[in-house]
């Protein structure tokens, strides 16, 4: 019940934001939403799938670059480019994932890093198409997206829809199967689950939604940079998942808000904001190993179990 109320409040706040917040904070909120979607898409494979997706940023970058190149070099209309971005990212997920799911644990992550770095170097060096290390700037968009309220509306709407879809996936039979695979792939296999096929499907889905985040970034910033494909960004999203709690759905969103907020707000006063992030991470590892939302969820569950005890007293075994 209270969960629905909370969700309603959050949606109302998102809708009201452009009317009440100064433009800078509207922009910041949009950035948090885009990054939050990116981190949540990673968490589908990381937290729910138990896969070491070390280079998720690649799919974000591919989504963004596809849209940017489509508009500036190929003259596509914006809607086509924005549709092509996530599809290209999903396709890249299919190709990279096809090889990665054949490897276990750490090797999965290492292969992903190397394949991803390959994509990065292409973006960095193929000047005629990708603009090389300059990236692509001033991407022409329809007039409505050139205003902040317009871009914000697109970002907020698409992120809410995407999160709803991801939430549905997590709760679907597919989501439950994915969690079962995370806990025990061998057991899943002998239960009749094609483990690799599920893992690959999860990677494609996650890549698709990372691609959605990528095109939303283009809508918001009207530019792309090769650093979107660099492994440092992938590490940052990983940190967001861990920080927020990778066994919860909302954790990565919270983690993204913390990191983006810290970078933007503290970054205005000091270039050492990463130092603050580092200290925060160390504290977290020691005191909240399950992440912010993981910790809150555990306390909430404990509270509910305590208040519900009289009703289920019959369950207690002798």
């Amino acid at each position: 019940m209270s969960g629905r109320v909370l969700l309603g409040l959050a949606l109302a706040a998102l809708a009201a934001a452009p009317a009440v917040l100064p433009p800078f904070f509207v922009y910041l909120l949009a950035l948090v939403l885009v990054t939050g979607l990116l981190a949540t898409s990673l968490n589908l494979v990381l937290g729910y799938g138990g896969l070491y997706q070390f280079h998720h940023g690649v799919f974000y970058g591919i989504g963004a670059y596809t849209a940017a190149v489509g508009i500036t070099r190929l003259g596509w209309p914006a809607w086509l480019a924005f549709l092509a971005g996530p599809l290209a990212a999903g396709l890249a997920g299919l190709v990279i994932g096809f090889f990665c799911v054949r490897l276990s644990r750490l090797y999965f992550g290492m292969l992903q890093l190397s394949l991803g770095s390959f994509v990065w170097i292409v973006a960095l060096r193929w000047y005629p198409v990708t603009g090389g290390d300059n990236g692509i700037h001033g991407i022409p968009l329809p007039p409505v997206l050139q205003t902040l309220p317009g871009a914000y509306a697109l970002v907020a709407g698409a992120v809410v829809a995407s999160l709803a879809a991801l939430r549905a996936v997590v709760r679907s039979p597919f989501g439950l199967t994915l969690q079962a695979i995370r806990d025990n792939p061998q057991r899943s296999e002998v239960m009749g689950v094609d483990v690799r096929a599920h893992q690959l499907a999860a990677i494609v889905l996650a890549a698709f939604f990372a691609g959605v985040a990528g095109v939303l970034y283009v809508a918001l910033e009207r530019s792309v940079f090769p650093s979107m494909l660099f492994w440092v960004l992938s590490l940052e999203i990983l940190v967001m998942c861990l920080l927020g709690g990778w066994f919860t759905f909302s954790g990565p969103l919270v983690g993204a808000a913390v990191v983006v907020g810290l970078r933007t707000l503290a970054g205005r006063y000091t270039e050492y904001w990463t130092l603050m992030l580092g200290v925060l991470l160390i504290l977290l590892i020691f005191f909240l190993p399950e992440g912010i939302m993981g910790h809150l969820q555990r306390r909430w569950n404990a509270y509910r179990a305590l208040s519900a005890r009289p009703a289920t007293a019959g369950d207690v075994r002798g």
Binding site: S172, L176, A180, E189
Partner: protein, 494 residues
């Protein structure tokens, strides 16, 4: 009866060690078949080959008339082969309900249903299976927090969710309490009778085997050596020699001078409470070993024997309680520090260094010089001298066990902790090893022996303890234990 499963001359090696070399058996529709054989006979490998967890080097697996030899596990499961594992193998972070629900969804082929909630599919089936297996009351607990016995039952529930035609159970009652064992057997019998489910299982508990199976297949050193109705197999002289008779080794019991516990206390364990993560495994375990004594610690699989030894040597530090070695508190010391005090430990899983030669394995273990030189160790285990230049991974299971013991000895310990030294050894080797341990006792070494092989332990030790469910249930001499039928029946299943 129609033939449901036929296994023809399967072979499978691991790094040159043939775990299964010539296994053949068949299961008719509606039949319950047991596979017995000593530890390390290849039973689990055989089950892995039947269910597709491993693929064979050679041989055929035919299920319901179809050659499934190269099929992956998930495909065999869909064809109707479902299994449990020897070690509880569930989804620890999911609730019991979600565990079974996931299995039902897999069976219903809903794994790729992406956007509709899982709660719309296969929910009644999941509840039905929880009902049948008696897990309904615990549906909302996390599977990882269930007791060992309940996790084993959840295993069976997961296997049933795939609506199998053949249920393959790897030691289904290992580590279960007698009541849990009884109810599990009833469940298996009911499924067989009411639903015509065929069952292939392996088990060390002979009562379970002879009361449940229609037919028994005997495995020995990777081969199936006999097959027939339970009474016939029990009477087969070859089976007696290879497996059942292994218990009746000759040789009178040796009593050391300190028998009866009159010597100086060497090891004192008091009120030990040990946890693995959240699960509480040892409850108030106390025991004493006097200098020069050989003490047994008996109990079934999962009773807490290994954990007790690991708590003593510091591998799994206890949360509460005291461990004193020669009067000195060693709780909190790192395992290597405990070893340097003179405590030798032979782990049940051997843990030899696979890439080092036999000689090197021994060399790294020398802590101090004393009675046990390489020559004396080789005298004890001549086969190790022959193979001193072989790499550890190329030794047989039994030889690895000897190496593990030799490695502990060259450290010249004053107290030797042996965890299941007999496990995984062929019956003949068990007798050789028994002999050797007797010789060790004669040199004045103090021994704490954790064993499942009750016969051997009682022949070797002076007195000791019986542990069950992490609690000491009995303390006394060998004669007292032999006279106490209640303890033997309840905790040792004799």
């Amino acid at each position: 009866m129609a033939e449901l499963l036929r296994v023809e001359d399967l072979h499978r090696s691991f790094n040159g060690f043939p775990a299964v070399r010539g296994a053949s058996l068949s299961v008719q529709a509606g039949e319950v078949v047991a596979v017995i054989g000593p530890n390390g006979a290849g039973k689990t490998t055989l089950f892995n080959l039947v269910t597709g967890v491993l693929l064979p080097d050679r041989g055929r697996v035919v299920f319901a008339g179809v050659d499934v030899t190269r099929w992956p596990a998930h495909r065999r499961c869909r064809a109707g082969v479902s299994r449990t594992f020897q070690i509880a193998n569930v989804f620890p972070r999911l609730t019991v309900f979600d565990n079974v629900h996931a299995a039902c969804l897999a069976h219903a082929r809903k794994g790729f249903e992406l956007f509709r909630p899982a709660s719309r599919f296969a929910v009644e089936q999941a509840w039905e299976i929880l009902e049948v297996t008696g897990l309904r009351g615990q549906a909302h607990r996390l599977a990882g927090t269930l007791s060992h016995g309940d996790q084993r039952i959840l295993e069976i529930a997961l296997a049933l969710a795939s609506r199998p035609r053949l249920l393959v159970l790897d030691e289904p009652t290992a580590g279960m309490s007698p009541e849990e064992t009884a109810s599990t057997l009833q469940l298996i019998a009911r499924l067989n009778r009411d639903h015509g489910l065929s069952v292939l299982f392996c088990e060390h508990d002979m009562e379970v085997v002879f009361s449940t199976a229609h037919r028994v297949v005997v495995m020995h050193q990777g081969r199936t050596i006999a097959s027939g109705p339970p009474e016939q197999v029990r009477a087969d002289p070859e089976v007696q020699r290879a497996y059942l008779g292994g218990e009746e080794a000759e040789g009178p019991p040796v009593r050391s001078q300190a028998a009866g516990g009159a010597g100086k206390p060497m090891l004192q364990v008091e009120g030990l409470h040990t946890y693995y993560g959240l699960s509480h495994v040892l409850f108030d375990v106390s025991l004493q070993v006097q200098e020069g004594e050989a003490v047994f610690l008996l109990g079934r699989n999962g009773a807490g024997k290994s954990t007790t030894l690991k708590s003593v040597v510091g591998l799994v530090p206890p949360r509460r309680g005291a461990v004193r070695y020669r009067g000195r508190d060693v709780v909190g010391l790192a395992p290597h520090a405990v070893a340097q005090l003179g405590v030798g430990y032979v782990p049940d899983d051997r843990r030899i260094f696979p890439d080092l030669t036999v000689w090197e394995n021994l060399e790294v273990a020398v802590r101090r010089h004393g009675y046990w030189t390489f020559d004396r160790v080789f005298e004890l285990f001549p086969v190790l001298r022959e193979k001193r230049h072989h790499r550890g991974s190329h030794l047989s299971g039994g030889e690895q066990k000897m190496l593990a013991i030799a490695r502990a000895l060259v450290g010249n310990p004053d107290l030797l902790l042996l965890d299941e030294p007999m496990e995984g050894l062929a019956p003949r080797l068990v007798r050789v090893l028994e002999d050797r341990i007797r010789q060790l006792k004669a040199t004045g070494l103090t021994v704490l022996l954790a064993e499942q092989n009750v016969g051997a332990a009682l022949r070797l030790a002076d007195r000791g303890y019986v542990i069950d469910d992490g609690r000491i249930r009995f303390e006394g001499t060998v004669e007292e234990l032999q006279a106490n039928h209640e303890v033997r029946r309840r905790y040792l299943l004799l």
